[in-house]
């Protein structure tokens, strides 16, 4: 466990050295600038649009961090040949993979946390500047704690993306791993189409294949509750916990496979 936490902290420190936190400044500037601009362009929908923009930006920034750091987690160590000195220490390969993953999740957690605070700060300012009559017309309060439900599922979604990037990183080049991870992210959003494949196709084998792919590919569309939360529509607690549980189970499976693949790799 100590080895895992040691690797995780080092991955986090490396991301700080790689200037990953710069994206937080960009996020804050984006939100503040857009809040002034959007107020001029929309018919009183600035709070709704800031929420949409903030949540979408958390996904985009998080996605970039998860993919572009995730793909280099293992392959960079191999390329730099630092893997040899690392594995010569009392660190098992499973600990190495899990530690790397935990480190990037820690980086993501700090980033998502700071972006959430920045989003709430901007929303708080906008709410304060509005008249009570204007506030009464909003679908949901400006500083709405339910935004955390959407952000929580975004974070689990990013954790899955990180696990996918790490998995590909264990056996392929960074470029290929980035392409495959991004491809899976996109396919994962169309996943529900495969679930309903039987409605457009009669062939039983084709339906089975589609159903198998549906269960194999990560179901990213399920993690998107941004629209509901922004409009103040209720999201069942059961749905949240089932989706988060699905995410954690999927991550566990990916980590186990990543460990197995990495354990079989020959670095001679």
């Amino acid at each position: 466990m100590r080895a895992i936490s040691w690797i995780a902290v080092n991955v986090f420190k490396e991301s700080v050295r790689d200037r990953v936190p710069y994206n937080l400044a960009l996020f804050a500037v984006l939100l503040i600038a857009s809040s002034f601009l959007i107020g001029q362009l929309t018919a009183g929908q600035d709070v709704k649009i800031i929420k949409d923009l903030g949540l979408a930006a958390i996904v985009v920034f998080g996605l970039f961090i998860a993919i572009f750091i995730g793909i280099g987690l293992v392959s960079k160590e191999v390329e730099r040949r630092s893997i040899y000195s690392l594995l010569s220490k009392p660190i098992g390969r499973p600990q190495f993979v899990v530690g790397k993953y935990a480190g990037l999740v820690l980086t993501l957690a700090v980033n998502v946390g700071v972006m959430t605070v920045a989003l709430y700060a901007v929303l708080g300012c906008l709410t304060y500047l509005q008249t009570p009559a204007a506030r009464a017309a909003w679908d949901a309060p400006g500083v709405d704690p339910r935004l955390l439900e959407a952000i929580g599922l975004i974070f689990v979604e990013l954790m899955i993306v990180t696990a996918i990037a790490l998995f590909f990183s264990t056996f392929s080049t960074p470029l290929l791993a980035a392409a495959l991870t991004f491809g899976l992210f996109i396919v994962g959003h169309f996943n529900t189409d495969l679930k309903n494949f039987d409605k457009i196709v009669d062939s039983r084998p084709a339906i089975w294949v589609a159903r198998a792919v549906y269960h194999t590919v990560p179901d990213f569309s399920a993690f998107d509750i941004k629209t509901e939360v922004v409009h103040g529509l209720p999201v069942a607690a059961g749905y949240l916990s089932a989706t988060a549980g699905y995410g954690f189970a999927y991550i566990s499976a990916l980590l186990v496979v990543s460990v197995l693949v990495f354990a079989r790799r020959d670095f001679k």
Binding site: T42, A43, D52, A56, V59, I186, F223, K226, T227
Partner: protein, 288 residues
């Protein structure tokens, strides 16, 4: 660094010179909608559909504002409905897009494309997404009343709005007013009688007053042919004195609040006195 700054300054200068020499207004002003299919756009947007909806909403506002201010009437809000359709397909709960969109669409040219049919279609799409949102029903009623001048259909939609959860109590009286304006006093009476049973005192008072106004309207309608049959001698105005002299009425008739009706000296038209509590009277069509 100096070379880079100089090169960039040269690029900007050339850009300014080119723009002055070759106007590209036609290309800049041309409105495009590259993706017209809501289904395709939803897929392209991945999980960013709400943000894409915001972008299309801003485009719809700019398109409407641009055409509204433009002196060139050729475009005639061509992209307004497609933009609103895309916005509401990407974010089906975007209430303002339905409601403002319907106002924009229903306005007659030059204030809008003059398409109340599309306004109603957009609001019905909103109802399909949120069937219990009374505002959409209210807005459809308003389009029927204001743009299509169809008071009967407007009254039906006002009543539907009233049936939705959280709807304000004033919708039912508005439905009654629509029916009165359309001349359907019998249906208006039925609604007003129902309102008398409402728990809100102010609604009951309003309904009582509206029922008295209906009685006054009925009396005016009954009196009108009698007055027309008994015109005053040429050169003298219509007056109650003349009608009493002729034995048409025994005394000046009063409304339910005890204030005498007024008669127009030149036309003989009967009206409720401005001193009456029933004044002003609702606008009304011929009784059905």
């Amino acid at each position: 660094m100096a070379v880079a700054v100089a090169a960039f300054a040269t690029a900007v200068t050339l850009q300014v010179v080119r723009d002055r020499a070759y106007s590209r207004e036609e290309a800049q002003n041309r409105a495009f909608l590259y993706v017209q299919s809501p289904a395709v756009l939803r897929r392209i947007a991945l999980s960013f559909d709400a943000l894409a909806a915001d972008v299309y909403w801003i485009r719809a506002l700019q398109h409407y504002g641009g055409d509204r201010l433009s002196r060139d009437g050729r475009e005639r809000y061509r992209l307004l409905y497609p933009l609103l359709d895309l916005t509401t397909s990407l974010d089906p709960y975007f209430t303002i897009a339905y409601r403002f969109g319907a106002i924009f669409l229903s306005e007659g040219y030059p204030g809008g494309p003059g398409r109340p049919d599309l306004a109603v279609a957009l609001l019905k799409k909103g109802i399909a997404a949120q069937s219990d949102n009374w505002r959409y029903y209210h807005d459809i009623a308003f389009v029927h009343y204001w743009q299509l001048h169809d008071t009967k259909t407007a009254a039906e939609w006002f009543r539907l709005a009233q049936q939705q959860p959280g709807a304000p109590g004033w919708l039912e009286p508005v439905a009654a007013s629509m029916l009165i304006e359309g001349g359907d006093r019998q249906s208006a009476r039925v609604i007003l009688q129902q309102i008398l049973n409402s728990p809100e005192e102010w609604l009951q008072q309003m309904a009582r007053r509206a029922l008295l106004q209906l009685d006054a309207l009925d009396l005016i309608d009954r009196a009108r042919p009698v007055i027309v049959r008994n015109p005053p001698p040429a050169g003298t105005p219509y007056s109650w004195q003349w009608l009493i002299q002729r034995g048409v009425v025994s005394r000046i008739p009063e409304d339910e609040t005890g204030v005498p009706f007024e008669i127009d000296p030149s036309t003989g038209a009967l009206t409720v006195s401005p001193r009456s509590q029933l004044f002003p009277m609702p606008r009304t069509g011929p009784p059905q």
